[in-house]
């Protein structure tokens, strides 16, 4: 009790500080959402807190621009990238943890080395390769280079290493082969890491900008982030209401992914396996 009373002013101060910080961080976000419901006139005049709200902007965004096509492109590419990364990263991580082969550590070292080179540095050779393969302005150019990732392998390897050895031994005695053990035990046991990597790779693909800008030229393969940029330059003057509405639309998947992910980030999911 005494301690609670003593810390009351301290707590008030903490909360004031937290609220202030939350305002600073969330205000632009809310202003963005708010203005997406306003006509361009109000935005242009700087009258950001007008109450002249309507869904017109959203209707216009969907009907007057190819935003649906962009969204579909982004969705397909992000989903395929995510699925491929989950599959290939978990398989290679499994090999690094549960298979014993010559040069395992050296190979893993090489994996890590590729992480040290930023993607921007690989853009020119990558571009030449995809151009040579005739993949430009196509879904494949946005997917193939990202089928696997060294980071994903590294992350899952660390996670797989935590799988109790007894589960492997119990599975050996029951006669599971490597694939059965991988599929029936390792993947479910490391569900949280898989979801984390899935969310990470989905959002990574969704938010790509530089690479799609260089390799796609038509609406058929243009992804949403570049489509948004397109809205800004296609018009002679910037139709801010449309841009605001589109920007609001494209953050929705991000929020959904994070909410779904959050549901699974409960602790204690693996309790009771081994004492």
């Amino acid at each position: 009790m005494a301690e609670n009373n003593k810390s009351l002013p301290k707590r008030i101060l903490t909360y004031v500080l937290l609220i202030a910080l939350a305002l600073v961080i969330l205000a632009p976000f809310f202003i963005g959402i708010w203005t997406s419901f306003l006509p361009t006139m109000n935005i242009a005049k700087g009258d950001l807190f007008s109450t002249n709200l309507s869904f017109d902007n959203y209707v216009a965004a969907f009907t007057k621009t190819p935003i649906l096509r962009y969204l579909a492109n982004s969705f397909v590419i992000s989903t395929l990238t995510m699925v491929a990364q989950l599959l290939f990263c978990s398989m290679s991580a499994y090999a690094f943890v549960f298979l014993k082969f010559k040069g395992r550590n050296i190979l893993f070292g090489l994996f890590l080395v590729t992480m040290m080179l930023p993607f921007e540095a690989q853009i020119i050779p990558n571009f030449q390769t995809v151009k040579f393969l005739g993949m430009l302005d196509n879904y494949s150019v946005l997917i193939v280079p990202f089928l696997t990732s060294a980071f994903g392998t590294f992350m899952l390897r660390q996670s797989f290493k935590q799988t109790p050895a007894e589960l492997k031994e119990a599975s050996d005695i029951e006669g599971l082969n490597h694939f059965q053990f991988y599929w029936n035990v390792v993947l479910p046991y490391n569900k949280i890491s898989m979801i984390t990597l899935g969310a990470y790779s989905f959002l990574g693909a969704w938010n790509q900008y530089l690479w799609p800008m260089l390799t796609t030229f038509s609406n058929n393969s243009r992804v949403i982030q570049n489509g948004l940029r397109q809205l800004q330059s296609e018009e002679t003057f910037n139709d801010w209401r449309m841009i605001q509405a589109s920007a609001a639309i494209i953050v929705i998947p991000t929020i959904i992914v994070l909410f779904i992910g959050q549901h699974y980030f409960k602790s204690g999911l693996n309790e009771g396996a081994v004492k």
């Binding site: 031994e169 119990a170 599975s171 029951e174 569900k191 693996n270 396996a273 081994v274 004492k275």
Partner: protein
């Protein structure tokens, strides 16, 4: 029809043998306990039988088939781990069915076996729970049910009770014993707890320092231990071992504190005497005749354990009836009956050897 270990040796590096030349025969359908202090190699031996650890030398035969290079699944056995090794993402029912599903058993057959197994360990009510929603004892039962559901006739258990509290351990001990008898399993059970070994085993293998000390029934091991180690490993409190010298053909001077009568002549001049705490006597004494001082007295309800320090060094524990009254620092005289074991200076049991029986 049995499991035969022949000269089994395990060596991880050149100079250190984890298991040295272990040979034994485990009869089909018996409860076989491998017991020893930690680090004696007992878990390694079990894992070699299971096929989880390679054998360096020697052979292991199961049902007349050499299994040295057979993978674990082809040895047709199940294993219960110390840490249970349950799958946290599966329900109790699915955990028990896991091995059967992996072996692609018939669906109706799986259904029946799993339900029977759960019934046998009293877990029917909890079939849809996840392991994290179970208590330690219940998790242990799931691990047992997994072994029961399998059609394998050999079951290996690696210290399955060491994570449970004392009360539950006694209960599970009885349950495991009853299950083994009911199913006619060949059960190979590893433990460091001599009480578990004594209460459950048909045969006990005592391991120490990577070597077999003795293999025998609980009675044989307790009454005729092969050496000092085996004698002191079994029994609570442990047997009292004191040095002794032969003073005449029939008299041994024990620890220079008291004398015992030899049942038969022995060849050795210097021996070690092992006397169980129940075979010693304590009486109050004056300072002149006392040969020991009491250090502590433990009250156990129906009896008391008296811990005393002998005048010429060494400590002994004696079990007395709970009516007798002793105080710490009291001077007492400790003597022994004719019930005792004799060991030579190397610790080998010579109790009935060197006797002039054939004369």
């Amino acid at each position: 029809m049995s499991t035969i270990l022949k000269n089994v040796t395990k060596q991880y590096d050149q100079d250190k043998k984890v298991l040295d030349n272990v040979s034994a025969e485990i009869q089909t359908g018996e409860f076989f306990v491998i017991v020893g202090p930690s680090g004696c190699g007992k878990s390694t031996l079990l894992r070699m039988i299971a096929g989880l650890t390679q054998i360096s030398e020697g052979t292991i035969k199961i049902e007349d088939r050499v299994v040295n290079d057979l993978s674990p699944k082809d040895r047709n056995l199940t294993m219960v781990f110390q840490s249970y090794a349950l799958f946290p993402f599966l329900s109790v029912w699915d955990n028990v069915a896991f091995g059967l599903k992996a072996r692609k058993a018939d669906k109706a057959d799986i259904e029946k076996r799993v339900n029977d197994a759960l019934k046998m360990v009293n877990l029917e009510e909890l079939r849809d729970r996840k392991p994290r929603e179970l208590s330690g004892g219940q998790r242990q039962r799931v691990a047992l049910a997994r072994a029961v559901a399998s059609d394998a006739k050999i079951c290996l258990m690696d210290e399955p009770l060491s994570n449970l509290d004392a009360q539950l351990r006694i209960k599970m001990r009885q349950e495991i014993y009853a299950l083994q008898r009911k199913l006619g399993l060949t059960l190979i059970y590893v433990t460091h707890d001599q009480v578990e070994a004594m209460t459950m085993a048909d045969h006990i293998m005592v391991l120490n320092d990577s070597k077999i000390q003795q293999v025998g029934t609980p009675e044989e091991i307790y009454q005729h231990p092969a050496n000092e180690f085996v004698a002191s490993f079994f029994g609570v409190p442990p047997i009292n071992i004191l040095p002794a010298q032969k003073v005449s053909e029939a008299i041994l001077q024990v620890n220079s504190d008291f004398e015992v009568t030899l049942p038969h002549p022995i060849a050795h001049a210097n021996v070690r005497v092992g006397i169980r705490p129940t075979d010693m006597k304590v009486v109050d004494s004056d300072e002149l005749h006392a040969n020991a001082t009491i250090k502590a007295v433990e009250f156990l309800g129906n009896e008391k354990i008296v811990h005393a320090k002998m005048s010429h060094g060494g400590e002994v524990s004696v079990i007395v009836s709970s009516e007798e009254v002793f105080q710490p620092y009291q001077n007492v005289e400790i003597t022994a009956d004719s019930e005792f074991l004799l060991f030579d200076v190397d610790g080998k049991n010579i109790t009935n050897k060197g006797a002039v029986t054939h004369a």
